[in-house]
Every structure is written in C-alpha cells, then in structure tokens.
C-alpha cells in the first residue's frame, strides 16, 4: 500500500492539497458575501496585469524565496525553523548597519557588504537555538519562537534608542546614503530599452534569490555536506552510525537557514525601504513555512510557491483597495495552504496511495 511513484508524491499530492486549500478559500470568500471569481479577476489584474503589478509580485516573491529556502534547508536536516521572522529582522539590522556606517563608493560593493552582513546577522540569530538543539536537546521550535519575540524587542530597542535620528518620533533609522541604492528592475530594463514600471520595488536582489535557489539545490543534492544534512534529517541514528557528527551538521544546517532568512533584508530593507523600519520582516518569515511546505522543500518548488505567494500578496493588496475584502484574506489562504499541504497532507496522500495500490493490483 505504501508504494507510490516518487513523481506522484512530489507533484500530485501537493497539487491536490493546494487545490483543496484554494477551494476552501473560495468558500471563505463566498461566506463573507463576495464573489470568488471576481476576487480572483481583481487579484490577477492587480498582480500580473501591468509591469507595476509584476514588479510588486516579484518583489514579494524575492522575500519569500529567501525565507522559504531557509525553512526548506532546515526541513532537510529534520528541523523546523519557525525563527525565520526573527532571523530576517536581525538580517535587516546587519544590512542597515553596513549601509549606514560604511562609506560605500558604489552599490555593487554595498550589495556584497549587505549580503555578508545580512547573512551573518541572520545566521548569528539562528546560532543560539541551533547550538542549544545540537548540544542540549532544547527543541528548536520553541527556542526559535522565543527568539522571534526577543528579536522584535531588540529591534524596537535599537531603533528607539540607537538608530533613530534626533528629533524624529518614528522608530526608524535615517535613510541609507544614495550610493547604496540597488538598481530596480525598471532601471535595468531601461538599459535594454524594455519599458518596465520604475515605481515597482523589485530589484537586483531577485537575481540573488535565483542564485540562492541554485546554490541551495547544489549544496543539498550535489555536495557531501548536503548528503550529511539529508542523512541526519532522515534518521539521526543511522547518520551517527555512518560517522556523521550531528552537532556539526545541525549547526551547519541551521546557520545556513538563518543566513538565508537574513538575506531577505537585502531585498526589503536595502532594496525597497532604504532604511530600517519597525517590523521590517512583515511576516515573510512565517510565509516561508507555507512556501517550503508547498514547494516540498525543493528549491524549484520553493521558487514556484514564492511566486504564487508573491502574486497573492500583491493581488490581495489590490483586492483590499477595490473591494471591502481586507488584506487579511491572504493570511487565511496562507493558513489553509499550510494546513492542507502540511498538517493534513495525509488527507490526500492516503487516498492517492490506495488508488495506486489498486492500479497495481489490477495489472
């Protein structure tokens, strides 16, 4: 009964779960007296109907690729990193410090500095839960949740007491110098003579995110470290027997996870906001969970899921402007995606398995 071709597990099951999640979302929209078809039309028009919409969709998707990969790489090692939100906040702090206090001559150098700082700060914030998990067995789910809250308090403290410019009431840092401004998709398309909205926040970090997908794929499936990470995630005892050090691999996996979450800030804090604001991660750390679950922890799946959530985010924003459906609809859809592709996975998997078993039995 447990025989099912791998492609069915990788494609059919998540796709059907996703369809169920969206059907239930449609029912929710009906229940609040709106038309799901009309809502979908507005969302598609708002997110994909113009280069402005695409620029926003891709901007959000970039965030979600980073946080999705962060959750995915931890999943491969058998850990559930709910701390993406806190790690992204710390990544933002790292990016902001580098942008504010280093006199960069050109954005390309600033980008390298920000990547290093964002990844390092994010990884550092994951390091303590990782170390506690590896050496003391403290459950990483609880510690990373706690670290999310600690990060939020820390960021408010730093913004209010350290980085806030004198005389400003707003808990935010001053603007980054113009040398650190990353080229946006509009600027880049301009160079090739392609018309693309200049107001949209999608920027060069998009290519950084694509690079991160390739890199994560390479590490997980093409290196010794990736093999060790997957072995640890599948069966810790067998991994230990094979001579893999669980402490070392746990640290590597969680540090990479934190670094990826931290990199999100290059896109949001440096690429879009141009200053460090309060609550800069905007829940993207949590969306990473949905993205990783939907993408089955595979970088390609993560990229597709991130694009879908980018569409939902931008489309949902437009929806709240044009109808009385609040933006919070996205949170419901996100919850349903997590529920059906994650926790209620067996709701689809068991019948599919049975169907395949029957097909085999008949032959």
């Amino acid at each position: 009964m447990n025989r099912m071709p791998p492609w069915a597990d990788a494609v059919i099951v998540p796709l059907m779960s996703l369809i169920i999640a969206f059907l239930v979302s449609g029912v929710v929209i009906l229940a609040i007296g709106e038309s799901p078809v009309e809502a979908m039309t507005i969302m598609v028009r708002g997110a994909l109907g113009s280069t402005y919409g695409w620029g926003h969709t891709l901007y959000y998707a970039t965030n979600f690729v980073f946080t999705g990969l962060a959750v995915a790489i931890a999943f491969h090692a058998g850990f559930f990193n709910i701390g993406g939100e806190g790690q992204a906040l710390l990544g933002g702090l790292g990016v902001a410090l580098v942008c504010l206090f280093v006199p960069w001559p050109h954005w390309s150098l600033a980008l390298i500095g920000a990547v290093v700082a964002g990844a390092a700060f994010g990884a550092a914030w994951a390091a303590i839960p990782a170390w506690l998990r590896a050496t003391r067995g403290s459950h990483e789910v609880i510690t990373t949740i706690m670290f999310n809250f600690i990060a939020a308090s820390l960021l408010v403290y730093v913004l209010v007491h350290v980085l806030r410019p004198q005389g400003s009431m707003d808990p935010a840092s001053r603007r980054f110098p113009p040398e650190t401004r990353l080229p946006r998709l509009g600027d880049m398309a301009d160079a090739f003579g392609i018309p693309f909205s200049k107001g949209a926040p999608a920027n060069i970090s998009l290519f950084l995110a694509i690079g991160a997908c390739v890199l994560v794929w390479f590490i997980i499936w093409r290196t010794r470290l990736g093999y060790q990470i997957r072995a640890l995630g599948k069966k810790e005892k067998a991994a230990v027997y094979a001579g893999i050090s669980p402490v070392r691999i746990t640290m590597y996996a969680m540090l990479m996870s934190g670094a990826l979450a931290g990199l999100m800030a290059v896109n949001s804090t440096m690429g879009e906001a141009n200053r460090l604001i309060n609550g800069a991660a905007e829940g993207a750390g949590f969306i990473g969970i949905a993205v990783a679950l939907m993408g089955r922890s595979h970088p390609f799946g993560v990229a597709l899921a991130a694009l879908l959530f980018g569409f939902l985010y931008q489309g949902g924003g437009e929806l709240s402007l044009e109808t009385s459906i609040p933006r919070d609809l996205i949170i419901v859809i996100q919850a349903l995606v997590i529920l059906f592709t994650g926790a209620l996975d067996n709701l689809v998997r068991w019948p599919v398995q049975r169907a395949f078993a029957m097909l085999k039995g008949n032959r």
Binding site: V28, I32, G33, F80, I82, I128, P129, L132, R136, G137, S138, H139, V141, I142, T143, I145, M146, F147, F149, I150, S153, L154, V156, Y157, V160, H161, F286, I289, L293, S324, I325, P326, D328, L329, I330, I331, V332, I333, Q334, A335, L336, I338, L339, G342, A343, L344, D345, N346, L347, W350
Partner: protein, 321 residues
Amino acid sequence: MDFMTILQILDSTLRLATPLLFACLAGMFSERAGVFDIGLEGKMLAAAFLSGAVAAVTLNVWLGLLAGVAASLMMSGIHGIASITFRGNQLISGVAINFLAAGLTVLIGQHWFALGGRTPALLGGGRFETITLPGVEALSGVPYLGPLYAELISGHTILVYVALLCVPVSWWLLYRTRFGLRLRAVGENPAAVDTAGVSVVTLRFAAVMICGLLCGLAGAYLATGLSAGFVKDMTAGRGFIALAALIFAKWRPWQALGATLLFGLLEALSNRYQNIDLGGVVIPVQVMQALPYVLTVIILAGFVGKAIPPRAGGEPYVKER
C-alpha cells in the same frame, strides 16, 4: 513605592496572569497527552473574537462565553483531526491554526461589523462585572489587611476565580483520577496504554478538547473581562507566553500558576513603567517584554533545572498491526 502602588501592581498581575493561566493549563492537558500545541494563540484569538462578537450582539456575556468556547473547540477539532486522525505534523497544524484565527477573525469581523476587524465596544451586560466578595466592608477599617482584601482578593471578574480554581482541579484530574493517569501515560508511552485496551485516539481527542475549552475561557476573558470587546490581534503573543510558562512550569499545574503569575507581573510592570530605574541602572521596557522569552530559553537550555517534555510528545501514534 508605597503599599497602595504595590497592591495595584499585584492586582493587575492577577488580571494579566488569568488568560495566561487558562492557556497554560490548556497546553498542559494537550501536551501531557502527547499532542504538542503551538496553536494556543490562535484558539485564544478565535475565542476572544467570537465571544466579543456574540456578547456585543446579544448583550449577554454568558452567551458570549459559550460562543468563544465553541470557536476554540472548533479550532481544537481541526488540530485533533490533523494531528491525531491524519497523523499530521502537530507543529505545522499549530502554525496553521494561528494564522487561520488571525485571518478569519479580521475577515469575519469586518464582514459583520465593518469596524476594521474590531467588535463594537461592550457595555453593561456584555461584560463580566467585578465581584465584591463578602466582608470588604467589615475589613475596610483594618490597616493593610483591609485594602489588601478589597484590592487584591476581592473585586475581580468571576473568570479570575475560575482560573485560580482550575489549578487544584487540574492537579486532581491529572494526578488523582484514572483518566489523569491514562492521559499522562498516553503522553509518555501510548503503546502501553493501547495494550491495556484503552483507546489512544479517544484519550488524545479528550485532551485536545479540554485544551480547547480552557483556551476558550482564556480568549473570552480577554475580550469580555480584561477589555471591553475584541480588537485585531488582541492576544498579542499571550499564547506563546503561556507556552513559555508551560515549559517554565515543566508541565505541572501548581508550577503553572507560579510561572503565569511571574509573567503576569512582568507584563504589569512593563505596562506601568516605561523604564525601570534600579539604582542607576535603567532597564528599558523592551527588556521586560523580552524577559519571559529569555527565561524560557534558559530553562529549555537546561542550565537551571532541565525541562523534559512528555516523551511521546509530537509523535502521532500508529497502532501495531
């Protein structure tokens, strides 16, 4: 700091600890039966919303309470079906429930009341009134004891006393009844319970439903006792503080009371003082807000008394064939 200030701080400590205590005991029942629950926050939020909404419409706080508990039980039902029936990942289910509640409360609230996710402010019968215990008058002349009785012990809503009463009741249920023994056993070694002919699924569902009931009380208290009506995201991380308190208490009822009172005190202090001056060293309010989480990480790290969760926690039970 004079006596009255201390009394006022302790008084608000008790008020603020009440939802934490309900939620903490809720988590205790679920996790002691081997079902991890990081969805306490979502259940409380759903309960707070529906109790606030129903109390605002019917002007009857008891109907509000019932509706709140029903909302929380529904969320528990989802958690039970996902993590017990379909043997899904309990942590992922909890995350889903938190988001489901966060989104649905605003979506439905906006649809019903069009107040940006809030429910109308509760007046009169829509709120829980404070109870003045007998003897306040008689003791009013006595120094220290009089104000202590009037401020701290008397003058709370009924749910505060119910929460306190839940502590010995939970202790008795867990440690002095057959149900409690089985519930604890199913969280440590479900196979043994199954061998003894007791249904693991039924026991775990019972535990998850008790959790839903208590989370419902916690949420209803937030919307109809502590404040007057529901506002968006009004749980504000309390579900996670309760989770922290549960670990702090090492999954035991009396210690849960201590832990939630401690975290309630921290919240009361940070509400009252922006910065606390300890003889030259100024503690910013953000430190107070982060302290429950920091303390929990330290406890989890096992440097100060190791917290060991129930052994079968987080694992779906698969019956041997």
